[in-house]
């Protein structure tokens, strides 16, 4: 593990906001277990729990907490200066942080989604959801790490994207789904394990291309912004 990754992991798990990661995945598993235990038809509880909660809320919110935590939190408290006053090329700072963010998000979300998919349908659906969520974790993380460097309020901007763009507009104006990571994840999962529980208007090819495009573009943007990172003077 590189020193940047080590500091990032220590910082992430050393902050109390890490505890925010736990309730949503637990809720997802709890609802899936309850639905299955109460004998509710998977066609009734599958879409709202797997997509409505798992992919539309748990995945992006966990990615938002972690993605803005790996760099945004260090920018907030000023500790980022410690890493930046070293001769490391900035990509050697952004990539390990992105890897930590994507990895932590993927593990936190993929496991409960696997359990929920398993309970709803099959091991195959569980695995499909877990893999697609891991891919989505990378795209979301790249986006939120970049947002951390673009604005002083990355969480707010991230919530606007997740709640307004994906949550609201994505349901009303189907054209906006082309720019929705949530729908890329649904398309990928549906491709890996075709099921009636998942549906989207975004094709798999669009999902793959856009996932790669967003991940790469956001990463390059983050590296470039970190090269020009400015510290605001407190007393000028």
């Amino acid at each position: 593990m590189s020193t940047v990754s080590w500091i990032t992991v220590r910082g992430l798990f050393g902050r109390r906001r890490f505890l925010l990661l736990l309730p949503l995945p637990l809720l997802l598993v709890l609802l899936a277990v309850l639905s299955r235990g109460l004998g509710v038809e998977p066609t009734d509880w599958g879409p709202p729990v797997l997509v409505g909660l798992g992919l539309a809320v748990v995945l992006p919110v966990v990615a938002l907490i972690v993605g803005t935590g790996v760099l945004g939190a260090e920018i907030d408290d000023g500790t980022v200066v410690h890493v930046l006053t070293t001769p490391l090329p900035r990509w050697q700072i952004v990539l390990p942080k992105l890897a930590v963010a994507a990895g932590v998000t993927a593990v936190t979300v993929a496991i409960p989604l696997f359990v929920a998919g398993l309970l709803a349908d099959s091991v195959r659906l569980g695995l499909a959801l877990a893999i697609a969520a891991a891919v989505g974790a990378l795209a979301y993380s790249a986006l939120f790490v970049a947002v951390s460097l673009l604005t002083r309020r990355p969480v707010l901007l991230g919530l606007v994207y997740v709640l307004i763009w994906e949550g609201l507009l994505g349901n009303v104006i189907t054209g906006t789904r082309v720019l929705s990571i949530q729908h890329y994840v649904i398309a990928l999962a549906d491709q890996l394990a075709p099921t009636d529980l998942l549906s989207t208007t975004v094709s798999v090819s669009v999902a793959v291309v856009m996932t790669v495009l967003i991940s790469v573009a956001a990463t390059f943007l983050a590296i470039d912004r970190l090269r020009s990172f400015s510290v605001a003077g407190e007393t000028s």
Partner: protein
């Protein structure tokens, strides 16, 4: 301090930090206005009241802020968007930003590894010893006092043995012993051929540490050069006193005959006296008042704030 002496090696090469016509503004607010200076080996104090632009200037020197105009270069290479400069430059920012979940040794060791030093463990031990933090090096930084955190940050900034060290208000939060040690450390680093710049708004700090000083006031470089010369300029500036007495007019007439007095203004609330020599005037006043049978009710120096001293330098 034996630790300091043994741990501070002479710099293998010297570095020069150059600022040419550097300005920085935020919208309509000018934080730094057309500053030019060249910093070579030795300790230089960056002196100025709060809000003078010291931190902004330091951030531009350290490559953490782009100048709106002008250039900042270290040995001829721009510090902005150039991480390579951190091989020769160390920064201790004013903000008390430190990973509280690490121990001092872990923090300094991590910095040594980030610099990809050949032997990070010994570099970290040397830097921790340099700031006398060996006893507490295995405790989490979160348990440290402000001064200990500051010393830990200094150790991290020194771990790669930089030729240039920039420190923003380094003595904040330190107790007298820690300040003394830090002053000795900066002295020895400067004597070893390193370029050290530290900012402060306290005259006495600068006086004790550096021979060379750059004085900033309202974003401009107000004075530059030998501290003693500038200090003399500060000491010899006209001092303004407000005086109230039993007979202001008689006292005004008598004071005008004193060589130390440059001018007297008689107002409704008393006298305003401008004295060229602080000591001579304050010694003469009681004698003059006694000789004229005037009782002095109030004697208030009006311009003793640091801001007024700095402002005088701008006009001088």
């Amino acid at each position: 301090m034996t630790t300091t002496d043994s741990a501070t090696r002479p710099a293998t090469a010297t570095s020069t930090l150059d600022l040419a016509g550097v300005s920085r503004w935020y919208g309509n607010v000018v934080a730094v206005n057309d500053v030019s200076m060249s910093l070579g080996p030795g300790v230089t104090g960056l002196l100025g009241p709060n809000g003078a632009g010291k931190t902004t200037l330091l951030h531009m020197m350290a490559g953490f802020l782009a100048p709106s105009r002008g250039t900042v270069s270290l040995d001829g290479r721009s510090t902005w968007r150039n991480p390579e400069v951190y091989r020769r430059l160390g920064l201790v920012s004013e903000r008390e930003a430190v990973h509280t979940f690490l121990t001092a040794y872990e923090f300094v060791l991590a910095t040594a590894k980030l610099h990809k030093l050949p032997d990070p463990q010994s570099a970290a031990r040397r830097a921790v010893a340099l700031v006398e933090m060996e006893d507490a090096q295995d405790r989490r930084i979160g348990t440290y006092s402000k001064g200990m955190r500051q010393r830990t940050r200094v150790a991290a900034a020194l771990v790669h043995d930089p030729q240039v060290l920039l420190l923003d208000e380094p003595f904040n939060g330190m107790d007298p012993r820690q300040r003394l040690h830090m002053m000795e450390l900066l002295h020895s680093l400067g004597d070893g051929g390193r370029t050290i710049l530290f900012s402060s708004h306290i005259l006495e700090e600068v006086e004790q540490v550096s021979g060379t000083v750059q004085v900033m006031v309202a974003g401009r470089l107000a004075a530059s050069g030998d501290f003693r010369t500038i200090r003399r300029l500060m000491t010899n500036r006209p001092h303004v006193f407000a005086i109230r007495s039993t007979d202001d007019r008689a006292l005004a007439v008598a004071l005008m005959a004193e060589p130390s007095v440059g001018g007297v203004e008689l107002g409704r609330d008393g006298l305003t006296v401008r004295a060229g020599d602080y000591g001579a005037f304050t010694r003469a006043l009681p004698k003059v008042a006694l000789a004229r049978g005037v009782r002095v009710h109030q004697l208030v120096p009006e311009d003793e704030s640091l801001e007024s001293v700095f402002s005088y330098l701008v006009e001088a």
